[in-house]
Amino acid sequence: MKEFALVFRNSENQDVKPSPEQMQEVLTNWMNWMAGIAAQNKLVDRGNRLSMSESKTVKPGNVVTDGPYTEIKEYINGYTLIRTESIDEAVAIAGQCPILTIGGSVEVRKVVASDDNS
């Protein structure tokens, strides 16, 4: 079994304002998806969601800017750690992530273990 980080990205879209009902549905789907991973005993860590409102980017020379992003309006909004046999399996799990239905994407990254020589 290998561990993979699923990194969730979303882009800011001022034009789309989901209704409370739609947001409720996304939340429900999200919880079902997460619990579905846990039900296969493949969830290592739920991880964290990263705040948009309280975020800064620090650059050399005491340059501090608001927000997590630079040119593109895409931002990382969280991550979760899972445990699967292969990256393909991790990709299959990521493919069910509800963030894909609201314009986001999931990056699948293997966690490099300390004894990893590959």
Partner: protein, 426 residues
């Protein structure tokens, strides 16, 4: 104390005169051992157990000839007390006449002790915490609890753990050695010790209850016995200020809700009755109310333990009709599986998922679980496929029958197959 006894009688519906001997023995074993152990000191637990066993032996001989005494429990207490006195007399003779170098503190001096309600209560509370001692691994603690607190035989414990009796025997032996060498004082329970050990205690009681509730035996009396034993021990925890925590109340609420359906879960032939087919008039309303009471108590504070989640699920099961019932249950299972993975929770969650989203959507969720060595897994797949593909459903049910050791479960599954075949012929 009266409250505890009264309530406990509600749990054990059987009339005391019709109770089988082992039934009384199991109940009394734990109580009497606890009191004697508290009196003799923990390092002499075997002496306490011997006295209790001798008492039962005498009871079997005398009662077989003379019939049951009017008050069997009082009879047992009196005999045990006399046997304890005899033991002290023998020890006194041994120490003064045979053994010259007396170690005065090794065995407690003879003191007056009573099997009073209060003494039984205090001793049992203390004993619960003695047994759930972190010097032993959790598995061993659970075995010990079953033996010492509940009077289970090695065989019964082995069944509960799906292990070989020899394995359990060895485990108990090791655990007892550790226990004997431990300096834990049975008489005083500090706040820190209680806080430190409560989790293990609750886990043990939870597993004990489940052993009764999901038991492989279709002997209704034994199942009730196990469930009420677990509830009785949990109730003891709620009666003490230090142990009356939200988690304890949540666990007790769970036990009440589940127990309320014990009658309805089995028909007159000892076969399991599925939830949807249960006669709701058989649900014990007093226990449901008790469950509500403890669940409300459990909500004092911000803690949400797995017992809170399971109690809430059980609560929803006792409410007959609510449009969003299964949605609530699914959400709770979602939280529960994130708290702790277990194959059973994973499968129950999938069942709830099917109730909300339908069988077609639940089938891939179920197949992902990959729990090929569980009979219940194939039962679940059979259930989900019943509306979709009868042949697949039947082959899953057949696999479930192959895997299960429970006679009741085999019967229920065979019935389901017969129903599907009949439906297919029409």
């Amino acid at each position: 104390m009266l409250k505890l006894e009264k309530w406990w009688h509600l749990m054990t519906t059987a009339n005391s005169n019709s109770e089988l001997l082992p039934h009384i023995f199991r109940k009394e074993y734990a109580k009497m051992t606890a009191v004697l152990c508290r009196h003799f000191g923990l390092q002499h637990i075997e002496i306490a157990e011997d006295i209790v066993s001798d008492t039962f032996l005498k009871a079997t001989e005398v009662w077989a000839i003379h019939g049951l005494p009017e008050n069997p429990v009082a009879w047992l207490h009196t005999v045990a007390k006399n046997k304890a006195k005899d033991y002290f007399k023998r020890i006194a003779v041994f120490e003064t006449q045979v053994k010259k170098n007396i170690k005065p503190d090794e065995i407690a001096n003879e003191q007056v002790f009573e099997f009073s309600d209060q003494n039984i209560f205090d001793s049992q509370l203390a004993m619960i915490f003695v047994v759930c001692n972190s010097t032993n691994p959790t598995e061993a603690q659970i075995c010990l609890a079953l033996q010492i607190l509940c009077g289970f035989s090695v065989e019964e414990i082995a069944n509960a753990f799906l292990a070989k009796p020899e394995t359990i025997k060895k485990r108990l032996q090791r655990a007892r050695n550790h226990l004997r060498n431990d300096n834990f004082q049975i008489k005083s329970l500090s706040k820190t010790e209680i806080e430190f050990r409560l989790d293990t205690v609750l886990k043990t009681l939870y597993l004990l209850f489940n052993e009764g509730y999901f038991s492989k035996t279709n002997n209704q009396l034994i199942r009730q016995e196990l469930c009420s034993e677990a509830a009785r021990l949990t109730l003891i925890l709620t009666e003490n200020t230090l142990t009356n925590t939200p988690q304890v109340n949540a666990l007790l609420a769970l036990m009440c809700f589940q127990s309320s359906r014990l009658e309805a879960r089995t028909n007159d032939n000892g076969e399991a009755v599925l939830f949807d087919e249960q006669d709701r008039n058989l649900w014990n309303k007093t226990l449901i109310e008790k469950g509500n009471y403890y669940l409300i108590n459990a909500c004092k504070g911000n803690e949400v333990s797995k017992y809170h989640l399971e109690a809430s699920i059980a609560y929803w099961h006792t409410t007959p009709t609510d449009q969003n019932k299964w949605q609530h249950i699914l959400q709770l299972y979602n939280q529960l599986i994130l708290t702790e993975y277990s194959p059973i929770i994973a499968m129950n969650r999938t069942f709830a998922y099917a109730k909300v989203y339908g069988h077609n959507k639940a089938i891939p969720e179920a197949e992902k679980l990959n729990l090929a060595d569980h009979s219940y897994y194939y039962g679940l797949l059979g259930y989900l496929y019943a509306d979709v593909n009868i042949d697949t459903a039947i082959s899953h049910y057949e696999q479930a029958i192959k895997l299960t050791k429970s006679k009741t479960e085999k019967q229920t599954l065979a019935k389901e197959i017969a129903r599907l075949i009949e439906q297919n012929c029409r």
